[in-house]
């Protein structure tokens, strides 16, 4: 009987390890039908930049806020402002920074950090 139990437990432990490895690493659950609020931060940033570029084109602040609300952001102006500052700090693309600055200022948030990125008017 002891031999039986020992074999069963040993096999079970080995099998459990293999099963967990397969289920968590090799073939993990892939989520679909996720809300846009669950986007990876990289895609969230990209999404925000795209919305900001849209704002540059149409100056529709309400539409931009509504599109960013779906990310589950409580304070959209603050969220955009912080991403703009982060993009400046990380020296991201000037076009993306300008788009974020335009949206941030359109929503009432500005910063001295934004000054170098404002378009320079023709003399």
């Amino acid at each position: 009987m002891l031999r039986f139990l020992l074999s069963l437990v040993l096999g079970g432990v080995l099998g459990l390890g293999v099963g967990l490895y397969l289920g968590w690493v090799q073939f993990p659950v892939e989520f679909v039908n996720s809300p846009i609020s669950a986007l990876d931060p990289r895609y969230r940033d990209d999404y925000t930049v795209m919305v900001a570029q849209g704002f540059q084109a149409d100056a529709d602040g309400v539409g931009a806020v509504q599109r960013l609300r779906v990310l589950g952001v409580e304070n959209v102006p603050e969220y955009v402002f912080q991403q703009a500052e982060r993009y400046i700090t990380n020296s991201r693309s000037p076009q993306e920074i300008q788009a974020l600055i335009a949206l941030s200022e359109g929503l009432g948030r500005t910063s001295p950090l934004f000054d170098p990125y404002r378009p320079v008017g023709a003399p």
Partner: protein, 304 residues
């Protein structure tokens, strides 16, 4: 008396002569199979990996539509086709451009077109896929872009100007007596009409479910909701601007702001109203006797 028959000894290769293994391979295998099954059940059902790095292709249909709208708006600004297609490829659909046409069709069929910026977003999508030679049902559902209004025959600016000097060219007499066509006169306003608002209601209330919340409503005179209005909250060292109507569940005239304790706030509509009286979210007890922090309800309406 006969002797019992002597049993023959098993051969030397018999398993009876081999030392017994401490484990049974058959049972070990059964345990292994059970373990794998248990492990997979645990990993897929009981404790699946957490969703932390969702990619666009994993989004719901609605989420993908929102993503596509953003891609199209960006494309309408930068006209970077390569970048737009690269972003669309994240959706892992066989034909991303035709997929845009299908999503535009879906959106055009729904009330999305009536949402802020919805019309423009669908047109941006149509522009994108039409330039790539694709078609979709949105082409029929969305009416054409309205033509610009006819040019004015005469525009009188608000700025007064001196009457032109009389022409030195002689005018034929017959022309003076004859009938003359009266030009259509339209006056183009030089300044958009500005509607001033005032606080018609400011009340303090105490509700634990809506603690320390400044609820702001902007309405027409008759109470019709006014979405998209900028509202500004100010305190001693800062301010925040937000917009009405972004929480459709609370009304198209609604916006709110979370108040910090014991800070004085005023609210106004930038350029359109004077600041309200000071509001402070101090402690209070609601109707159930629960201790919470006070909230405020502010209603702006046109002042005339």
């Amino acid at each position: 008396m006969t002797a019992a028959p002597e049993r023959s000894a098993p051969p030397r290769s018999s398993r009876y002569y081999r030392p017994r293994r401490p484990i049974s391979l058959a049972v070990l295998l059964v345990g292994f199979v059970l373990g794998v099954a248990g492990g997979l059940y645990t990993a897929w059902e009981l404790a699946p990996v957490e969703e932390v790095d969702t990619a666009p292709w994993q989004l719901s249909r609605q989420g993908q539509a929102e993503y596509i709208v953003a891609v199209m708006l960006a494309y309408s600004q930068d006209s970077d086709l390569s970048r737009a297609v690269t972003r669309l490829l994240e959706l892992r659909v066989p034909d991303p451009i035709q997929h845009v046409a299908e999503v535009a069709c879906d959106l055009a069929r729904t009330g999305y077109v009536a949402e802020p910026g919805g019309d423009r977003a669908i047109r941006a999508m149509m522009n994108f896929y039409q330039l790539q030679g694709r078609t979709g049902c949105a082409d029929q559902l969305m009416p054409g872009v309205p033509e610009p209004s006819p040019t004015f025959d005469l525009v009188i600016a608000a700025t007064p100007t001196l009457p032109p000097p009389p022409t030195k060219t002689n005018t034929p007499e017959g022309f003076i007596d004859g009938p003359t066509a009266t030009p259509t006169v339209r006056v183009a306003p030089t300044v958009a009409p500005q509607q001033r608002f005032t606080v018609v209601r400011l009340e303090r209330f105490c509700d634990a479910d809506f603690a320390a919340t400044m609820e702001v409503y902007v309405q027409e005179t008759g109470g019709t909701p006014l979405p998209g209005q900028r509202v500004r909250v100010r305190w001693n060292d800062g301010e925040s601007i937000f917009i009405t109507g972004v929480k459709p569940g609370r009304g198209r005239d609604y916006a709110d702001f979370t108040m910090e304790p014991d800070i004085s706030y005023t609210v106004d509509m930038p350029g359109l109203s004077d600041p309200s009286d000071v509001m402070i979210s101090s402690g209070c007890f609601d109707a159930t006797g629960e201790q919470t922090r006070a909230s405020y309800r502010v209603v702006f309406r046109p002042s005339f």
